[in-house]
Amino acid sequence: MFLALTGTLWHSHEDSGLTSMKDNSQETTHFGYKTVDKTQKKSLVAGVFDSVAAKYDVMNDVMSMGIHRLWKRQTIDSSAVRKGQRVLDLAGGTGDLTAKFSRIVGKEGQVVLADINDSMLKVGRDKLRDMGIVGNVEYVQANAEELPFPDDHFDLITIAFGLRNVTDKDKALRSMLRVLKPGGRLLVLEFSKPEHDALNKLYDFYSFNILPQMGGLIANDKESYQYLAESIRMHPDQDTLKAMMQDAGFEQVTYQNMTGGIVALHRGFKF
């Protein structure tokens, strides 16, 4: 979830403070704070997720002190999902949201768990099967920028902790709009910018000093969690993402800050 991917990691948005990077965005991209060749990106990202997939859920609980479960609860609450509906859980990782949506939509509905990373998808599939969640869940390895689904197909799309890793976020948002039914909604749960300076400083200290150490101790992978902290800082803030969703064609876009803005839930509709 925290490291869920739907593509490579470069994002080229002027208002996210990356204007200087835009000119050479054809050849290079971001990997956390590093600038790397686009051709290198896929293997770097695959390396991160192959490394963390096995300890992904444990690390999420430890890193967030379990609060990620409450953020996801709020996402479900904002979904208005009903029995029989079709849901796309994009960058669904190990399937936390899929599990809940699957129970709500029932056997008449369908949930598609999509992730670009094969390792994460396998962990998610095994976990959900072990939970007895079968029958109405499909697993698709897909890039968020080019979703392999028909137009007007889903009642709800969620992307939790995945959008920041997408190479071209605008393209991904347009792709989501295309596959969303009229009247459907998109929910974007993502790390964002804390509202207060004091919290921001505390959060920075935690992210860059404690988080990588925990990653080293628990998952034996300090670098991946260093990347996590850096990628969060490179992600657009609440209002920028809201504007991006509006530009992509979503209407009635709103967001809700959680845990002081550490995480924000954006909601937009297609009419």
Partner: protein, 195 residues
């Protein structure tokens, strides 16, 4: 983080543990599967929203919009609703509001109210046969010494409603704090010998 999702998660876990111990629960859940019921009690800070799944329930937040039916009434009225004849009277008095299919409301309430748990079996699974037997016997004896359940519910409902009326509101609390601050300032001035 608001308290609501945390509390919902705790209550959901308790309810699902109880439902898992009741062999007849899945049959009751079948009739309401995929539907969402909302219970609004004015004395609670937020409504209780339950989505029924095949083998469990999910407690949703107050933001959840896809609600199929619900009941709104004070706790003192809700405790009387197990008697079907009192439902009509409560509706006529305007004390009870029903939305959606009344049969769904009845089925939804039965999922929880109809819980029939073999406590001895449940405790035995977790604690062992002998402690489980002793504990379930103790609960049975406690029940026999307790007043009639319906009377107790009535008493609890009325007491909670009355206590809620007496509870200090936020504005009153803020006024009390202001008065106390003013009093402390005045005492400090007097101690300092100021007029």
């Amino acid at each position: 983080m608001p308290a609501q999702p945390l509390l919902n998660a705790c209550v959901e876990r308790v309810l699902n543990t109880a439902l898992a111990e009741d062999p007849a629960a899945s049959a009751r859940l079948k009739s309401v599967r995929g539907k969402t019921f909302r219970l609004c009690i004015p004395s609670l800070p937020w409504p209780i929203t339950i989505t029924f799944c095949a083998d469990r329930v999910m407690l949703m937040g107050s933001d959840f919009e896809a609600v199929d039916g619900g009941v709104s009434a004070p706790l003192s009225v809700l405790t009387t609703l197990s008697d079907a004849s009192k439902v009509t009277a409560a509706l006529q008095r305007g004390e009870l509001e029903l939305s959606g299919d009344p049969i769904f409301a009845q089925q939804a309430s039965q999922v929880i109210l109809g819980l029939d748990i073999d406590w001895e079996e449940a405790f035995a699974k977790r604690l062992g046969d002998v402690p489980g037997y002793w504990l379930s016997q103790g609960i049975d004896q406690l029940r026999q010494h307790m007043p009639n359940l319906a009377d107790w519910r009535d008493w609890a409902g009325q007491t909670l409603s009355e206590e809620k009326k007496l509870t200090v509101g936020q504005v009153e609390y803020a006024m009390l704090q202001d008065d106390l601050q003013a009093l402390l300032r005045r005492v400090s001035q007097l101690e300092a010998g100021e007029p």
